[in-house]
Symmetry: C2
Subunit: 242 residues, 2 copies
DNA sequence: CGCTGCATTGATGAGTGTCAAAATTGGTGG
DNA sequence: CCACCAATTTTGACACTCATCAATGCAGCG
């Protein structure tokens, strides 16, 4: 049972830019279906030339890049509203894989209509490029984290980012949000070993900055955590979605 | 004295997708001037909301992100054909600074006409998004490098990437290309200390894999270097430019 | 109730960072 | 043409963060 775009769950959240009625009508034509996946399911594979692109409607996942050595680098975490498959759509090949970490519902688009999309709806193309620019911005910040921050700073930074993102999406209640990731995911995202990540998380808990256990992250003083991370807390902006 | 777009130096290089005559005519209207800068000149500042966007016509530079701690992370290296200011154009704020490392000539566009650009020329908007996707792809690879590769692998990887990029642009002669960067730049790009970078570069030279001195990089066996870096050598694709 | 995946803890050492100083290079002015 | 200065490269010694190895505990699950 496919949700009509006019009832799109994303368009109801106020962390997203509202779509106009016309835009919704158009997206309805562009949308070819809906995909529901279980935790652990691969959605797009690195190197693949996928015929389908997605927008996450609900649930969480990860983007990860596999190396020849068998290790992997987590590029970032996927939240509702994220567009999945930009690289496949434009370059014809994904630079990373995407995998579900919770149950997810995805809105499915056809890659073949991608160019038409650009041609007929420049404001939507603009939105897509906006998302790409935002991603570039974020990856630059991540690069600075892995390259320059200590393990403690890096993990604090990651927790701040995740918490803020979750907060904007209404996933935070009582200073607490669900985190479906494993410590290995976080370790791979920050270029740290699993053991050291575990010990560093322990340190954050000892200092009462961030407490993460049982898939649940609690942060009482976000500013204090941001201070440890040497980051500025900035209000989230409304994002477009595709 | 401003070059006419029909004589654009980028359009003559065959590593770029040729622009149609109509596209050139349009770009001519979009182009508002040309900027020549000396080495060391800041082109765009992190956090700024620049009114102008650029395409590098010649010369090289770096993108760098400054941290509150005074350290910096080099995001990547700027080559001819690179678009500069995507984030300013779309997000209204740069996530990093851009600085010249050689003399550079830049093609200047007005940010205010950016949206018009999208609206009237979807194929050019498509190209811009293509570049953004390519950047995202590259940053993902860089993330994997900093996060997962050893210092030796990382530096080998960086040399391979730079050499390939230079090669595509016709900057390589006799297995040698000019490198206007400092070891500090490379260290900051890979999250390594200057001293360790220096010693590791020495190791690559000892092993006759890559020899960089006097601003000049020589690589005789690129495949061998790529093997050390644990990367695949892939043929460069034709890129669009703006 | 024995798997299997994940979290946790302790011990040890390698890979890098940091500190300090010398060598080299390039530019500038006398 | 030389003297001087700043920036960069190079080297050596030492410290420390973080990776690796190895076990144990714990929970979910067929």
């Amino acid at each position: 049972m496919t949700t009509l775009c006019k009832y799109c769950p994303l368009n109801r959240k106020d962390s997203f830019q509202k779509l106009s009625k016309e835009a919704i009508d158009y997206m309805q034509k562009f949308k070819v279906g809906e995909l529901a996946v279980d935790p652990g399911t691969p959605i797009l594979m690195q190197g693949s030339n996928a015929p389908q692109l997605f927008t996450a409607l609900s649930g969480m996942g990860i983007r990860e890049r596999h190396l020849a050595t068998g290790e992997k680098q987590v590029i970032n975490f996927v939240f509702p509203g994220d567009f999945i498959g930009l690289q496949a759509g434009l370059l014809g090949e994904m630079g990373h894989s995407v995998e579900a970490r919770t149950q997810m519902r995805l809105c499915v688009f056809n890659r073949s209509e991608f160019y038409t999309f650009f041609k007929n709806h420049p404001e939507r193309a603009f939105d897509l490029t906006w998302l790409a620019a935002m991603e570039e911005h974020f990856l630059g910040e991540t690069l600075a984290t892995i390259g320059q921050r200590s393990a403690l700073q890096a993990i604090a930074w990651a927790m701040v980012k995740i918490f803020q993102r979750g907060s904007a999406l209404g996933m935070v209640h009582n200073n607490t949000m669900e985190l479906p990731y494993t410590q290995r995911d976080v370790a791979d995202a920050l270029g740290l070993s699993l053991v050291h990540t575990n010990k560093t998380l322990g340190k954050l808990k000892d200092r009462q900055l961030a407490s993460w256990s049982d898939r649940s992250l609690q942060i009482n003083d976000l500013q204090a955590l941001a201070d440890v991370a040497v980051t500025e807390l900035r209000p989230a902006r409304k994002r477009p979605f595709i």
